[in-house]
Symmetry: C2
């Protein structure tokens, strides 16, 4: 039977043959997570995804969320899945069991999310935001806040969100105007309006806990005067029971291009002066708190995008094997039979491109998860810092680059179905529509690119980016020792060397008078870095596969391993020459973008 | 006031300063179309587009088409626009006035379509298909067929479509199974089922005329046994009055990703044995007839895509000038004011990219129109053939490349709006959804790429592609003589030379044992050729602008002309280095796509 959502064999390959995640079980923290347990968890998640979540994808899109008299109803079919999600304890997979978490490695949780997000990420989004909100309580909450809220959040009894954006404060968070006035009892009265709040209101749970960014009366302007508050939809009494309504009113939900199963809410806080919150963390340190959550949130967005891409690829592959149309290009004679379209060169090109991108991007995301695991278990401060640096540098790639390429994969996924791909009869067009949001939220991809060159490139005096290059070079060396891969390794090495040169060029010019021009090439640099990271991952994978082939693999594995070598071959020979061109552009540092006058854009 | 849909200044620039379309008026056929008349027609079309069509765009998307008991209702607001469209005689702009046409140059009609398609192409699509059907009657019809049908089609009194696709015959037209049985009176009884018929049924007109591809009993299999028939929805009596229903039944319409204002119909012909058609053209020559219409249809699709891109760009530009968010990157001090996002480097990058693509692609499409005009007025057979060759070679670019890049422009157009771009509050997301169909219909873009290398590259023994390269080189020479452009010209020249090398490589290997591998690089070749054509157009435009600047342009024109040079500078310096990489890939001719086994794609 055809695989759906995500290729299980590939998931297993990364976990066990590329990253060897079960080695983490040598460490006490992850002692339970041996290979057998890992496989069991992936199987369980996959079952839930295929049998329960995937069937709700279309319903989520068609019925969508409905706003009625201040209440938001999620698609009917979501309720059962949410119940199963709670029962399976999938919300706080990596967190402390004390609060309802499962304590599993992050790398493993990404494999789980790969199936969940591929099955129906607008549904899964409800649980991501909830987890993020819970994490803020775990990290910054007082004992009382934790006792009152945390377990009910991590177990999904209550919902959770993040109230950040305002109409005039989108990418520019520092411009927000929601205010907090301290009351005599130490609580704060919150008032303001927030928009674009995913899961800001819904009927999946009886209460929703909102971490809210607001400015305490008299605090400085800009980001340095922002504090974080915990604001429940319904107040919580000291004994944990529910109290009165907390004046958090949903005024509407957005009509959107996609993710119709996820309500994007506008909320008014304290319209009647009755919205009470408690400070979460220190005064004026709200932005720092946000940054704690940002890596996880951005990695999740990358996984949402990959989920779409990977489902689109699985569907397209299956369709291309079944759909008979046209004769083989080399067929002779008028009576040549029709062939499945997988035999047509341009369809194969799309499929192999989809394959190599989804595989490489899957490895990138799981690898970031592994780095998180290493941060957690490492006893050595330098090593911890090194892994944290790798994570920080890779996050813009995991979010920005991955979502860009995922959208292209989804577009090809429509294309392979021809006219049918444009219809709602197949999931392909929904996956494309849903995927588009991943370019935008949790920091637009433009912001990811600015983050990469503006903050990450110089992180730890440039050491973290250098560490990334070193990791790449290690894989290149390993590949060089495999006969079948030595030429590909040399090509990848050339790209990595040029990336180093390009990074140096940016680092040395970014603080100069050429600053504006350098930033106008930020996007190209994210693109080029992403290509290089992709080549690294595919080469690493191909090396693991080639070694298995050399040793004599089982028959059913041979085609899989050969496919790994083909993915690397395709990407390195058909994409990297273009990457070199992208880097030439950056090195040339043309400044048409900066030089053109606003009037010269026309349109007036 | 901000321009909407399409920048009028740019339309005028191409018509009068780049292509000098009014020179056509020296020829008798276009004598009426002097500069003044051209400007008047563009103004009239622009008014209709802005005042009447654009306001129906959202309604067309939201209300969409409704299928009720075999009838299709178009969005309510379309009826008024259709009436105005008929009154303005916009359906048969370039056709013989004898049949209700306007006899205008094709180049001018493309400027008109630029506004119409940018305003609401799902509406305009109704009229395009109608025109195409009319053209088949004009070219292949008997006098009787013309008398009965043609004028009523060209004037919009009756609708028209094209019945081609069947469930098992999409890209593979030769597989169709609709049959035609000859009756004693010379008519044919038609029976079969067709799908994906745009405007196959609607309530804009009382009759719809369907050219239908079908196989006459006993005709050969494949494309060589296909004939074309004229099949009205309601039979037409000899005196032109309407007779009885002709057994053409709409069985449903597709639910689609976009173009909701355009009904995509399934039709059953002769379900009760009562569907009568007449042969249009010769028996078994139906495919040849289709090819006559194909260039026009594909050029129209390119214009639909450009319409979306151009509207998306105009909207984004206006938004970026108004939306204040974040401080200037080089601002110092905490109190620096917020700036319109057009001042941020990455937003400027997207805007300049959108600008250069929409401008260059607009020039490509109008230029193909000019070539058509030259075919019509040229007295010299060689010259005629030369222009026809240029058209044929450029059509895959005008359809495939243009629609690919237009979709990317529309994606950036969503991005510039941030979260708002994903909502239905603004038109950006609809333009992106609508645009996606242009990758698919009238031959998928994969088919365009195959057409380019498989048929067009070798057309007239390769002379036509060589003619295209010669035209490019002419513009490069002209640009070299302008100081401000000489460096850009040299870079463009390098790309054109390499394109020639790449084309030669493909031509010499396409019939070899490497055939499959060559075809797997077809898409890259379309891409690279498109980039080169873009560079040519932008350089040509910049040359025209630079010459005006040297002579001393009016103040209000200076920024426009300078903007032309910036578009060329951006594209040549920031895109062409990547194009060179694409050509390296083709020349390297890696065959991972061909070599990978079907099992190695995985997914089982």
């Amino acid at each position: 039977m055809a695989q759906v959502i995500t290729d299980r064999r590939d998931v297993d390959f990364i976990l066990h043959e590329q990253l060897e995640v079960d080695k983490l079980s040598k460490h006490e923290k992850f002692a339970e997570f041996n290979k057998k347990t890992i496989d069991m968890i992936v199987s369980e998640a996959r079952n839930l995804a295929i049998k329960e979540m995937l069937p709700t994808l279309k319903d989520g899109d068609e019925q969508g969320c409905r706003f009625e008299k201040g209440e938001v109803k999620v698609p009917d079919s979501f309720h059962k899945v949410y119940k199963l999600f709670k029962e399976g304890e999938w919300i706080a997979m990596c967190d402390d069991p004390k609060w309802g978490g499962q304590g599993m490695p992050s790398s493993l949780s990404l494999a789980v999310k790969n199936f969940f997000h591929g099955a129906n990420f607008p549904f899964a989004l409800h649980t991501l935001l909830l987890h993020g909100a819970g994490k803020l309580v775990e990290v910054f909450g007082t004992d009382t806040q934790k006792e009152l809220f945390l377990k009910k959040m991590y177990t999904g009894e209550w919902g959770g969100t993040m109230l950040l954006t305002e109409p005039e404060a989108g990418s520019d968070v520092g411009a927000l105007t929601t205010t907090a006035v301290k009351n005599a009892d130490g609580t704060y009265s919150i008032s303001g309006s927030k928009i674009f709040i995913s899961s800001g209101e819904h009927n999946l749970s009886e209460n929703i806990i909102h971490p809210v960014l607001a400015r305490i009366e008299g605090a400085p302007a800009g980001t340095s005067g922002i504090s974080l508050f915990l604001v429940p939809k319904i107040r919580v009494n000291d004994d944990g029971s529910l109290g009165k309504f907390n004046d958090v009113v949903c005024t509407g939900i957005e009509e959107k291009m996609g993710i119709h199963g996820s309500p994007t809410c506008s909320l008014t806080l304290g319209g009647k002066g009755e919205c009470i919150g408690t400070l979460l963390g220190d005064e004026n340190k709200g932005m720092r708190a946000m940054f704690v959550m940002m890596n996880e949130a951005r990695l999740d967005v990358g996984m949402q995008a990959l989920g779409c891409a990977s489902a689109s690829f699985m569907n397209a592959l299956d369709y291309a094997r079944e759909r008979v149309q046209g004769r083989h290009l080399q067929a002779t004679g008028k009576d040549a039979p029709g062939v499945p379209i997988i035999q047509h060169p341009d369809v194969r090109r799309m499929l192999l491109s989809m394959k190599s991108y989804t595989e490489g991007m899957r490895s990138i995301l799981y690898y970031v998860g592994l780095c998180e695991d290493m941060v957690h278990i490492s006893d050595d401060a330098d090593e911890k810092a090194r892994y944290q640096g790798l994570i920080d540098v890779l996050i813009p790639i995991a979010k920005g680059y991955v979502s860009d390429r995922a959208f292209e994969v989804c577009s090809d996924g429509v294309q392979i179905y021809g006219g049918y791909g444009y219809t709602k009869e197949y999931p392909q067009e929904q996956l494309l529509r849903d995927c588009k949001i991943t370019h935008i939220y949790e920091g637009t991809n433009g912001i990811q690119a600015m983050d990469l060159i503006g903050r990450k490139l110089g992180l730890n005096k440039g050491q973290s980016f250098k560490d990334l290059l070193d990791e790449m070079k290690k894989s290149v060396q390993a590949a060089k020792s495999v006969d079948a891969l030595s030429k590909l390794a040399a090509k990848a090495e050339k790209t990595i060397d040029k990336l180093e040169e390009t990074a140096l060029h940016i680092s040395t010019t970014i603080r100069s008078e050429k600053m504006m021009s350098v930033f106008s090439h930020a996007y190209s640099f994210m693109d080029a870095t992403g290509d290089a990271v992709m080549a690294w991952m595919l080469l690493w994978r191909a090396t693991a596969a080639a070694v298995k082939l050399e040793k004599g693999a089982k028959k059913k594995d041979v085609s899989f391993y050969e496919g790994q070598i083909k993915s690397a071959q395709f990407f390195i020979n058909s994409v990297l020459p273009i990457t070199l061109g992208k880097m030439d552009v950056i090195l040339d540092n043309d400044d048409a973008v900066g030089e053109i006058s606003e009037d010269s854009f026309g349109g007036k």
